[in-house]
């Protein structure tokens, strides 16, 4: 039996103060194994200073930290919204 090799590519978008903290507005990330949205955030935020709340969306829908990512997902990290 073969151990299946998972390679997924996701797009990550950052907005508002999180974009400022990360220093970019979007990037492509290659996942070597299955990851949740929360695990991706831990990864991308490990070298930044950001103490506020983080909202997460996948493919333009709010999701929670346990959402398991799939190939070609568009993930977004942003602070609580302030429109209106």
């Amino acid at each position: 039996m073969y151990h299946s090799l998972i390679i997924m590519v996701i797009v990550v978008k950052y907005f508002a103060s999180i974009s400022d903290a990360v220093g970019k507005t979007s990037e492509k990330i290659v996942l070597q194994h299955e990851m949740t949205v929360g695990e991706v955030w831990t990864d991308v935020s490990k070298n930044i200073k950001y103490a506020g709340k983080v909202m997460t969306a996948v493919n333009h829908e709010y999701v929670d930290e346990n959402y398991l990512l799939r190939d070609e997902d568009e993930v977004a990290f942003f602070p609580p919204v302030t429109g209106g």
Partner: protein, 152 residues
């Protein structure tokens, strides 16, 4: 149902009148129209605001505003709704958001306009960055975010 994200200064009342004339001309069962207009104040958290940058997440914003309108139309007896929202560089007194709903009876329009505004405030991905004498700052949300908004 009409939704528009607008990248320049706009006249909310003219937009409203034009929409009413072109789309609701023959709807003689309309008895009520409830409108909310949000405009930019020149003072926030005690500081004078010179201007404001309104950022958004285009694809998600449009889809959320549609979702909010649809949910409201399902919940109340609503004939039609419009949501207009400004993005980009905004000056004091500029219109930011216009929500309007039309219904036969006033209760439905009142409730629907308010609910659309509350949902927009807590769900629609817009962010305000203010320019003050002390520099730029991102606006913090006023109230607790609603429970269906999950956080990492």
């Amino acid at each position: 149902m009409y939704i528009e994200i607008i990248n320049e200064e706009f006249d909310p009342w003219q937009k409203l009148v034009d929409y009413k004339k072109s789309q609701l001309k023959d709807r003689k069962n309309i008895g009520a129209c409830s409108v909310f207009l949000g405009t930019m104040r020149d003072i926030n958290s005690g500081d004078e605001i010179k201007s404001m940058e309104l950022q958004h997440y285009p694809e998600m914003t449009e889809s959320y505003l549609e979702k909010i309108s649809e949910n409201t139309i399902k919940k109340y007896k609503i004939i039609d709704t419009i949501i207009l929202h400004r993005v980009g560089l905004v000056s004091p007194s500029d219109p930011i958001v216009l929500v309007a709903t039309w219904s036969e009876h006033r209760e439905d329009a009142f409730e629907a306009t308010r609910e659309i505004m509350e949902a927009l405030k807590s769900e629609a991905p817009f962010w305000k960055k203010e320019s003050t004498d002390k520099g730029f700052r991102w606006v913090e949300p006023q109230a607790e975010i609603s429970e269906d908004m999950n956080e990492v």
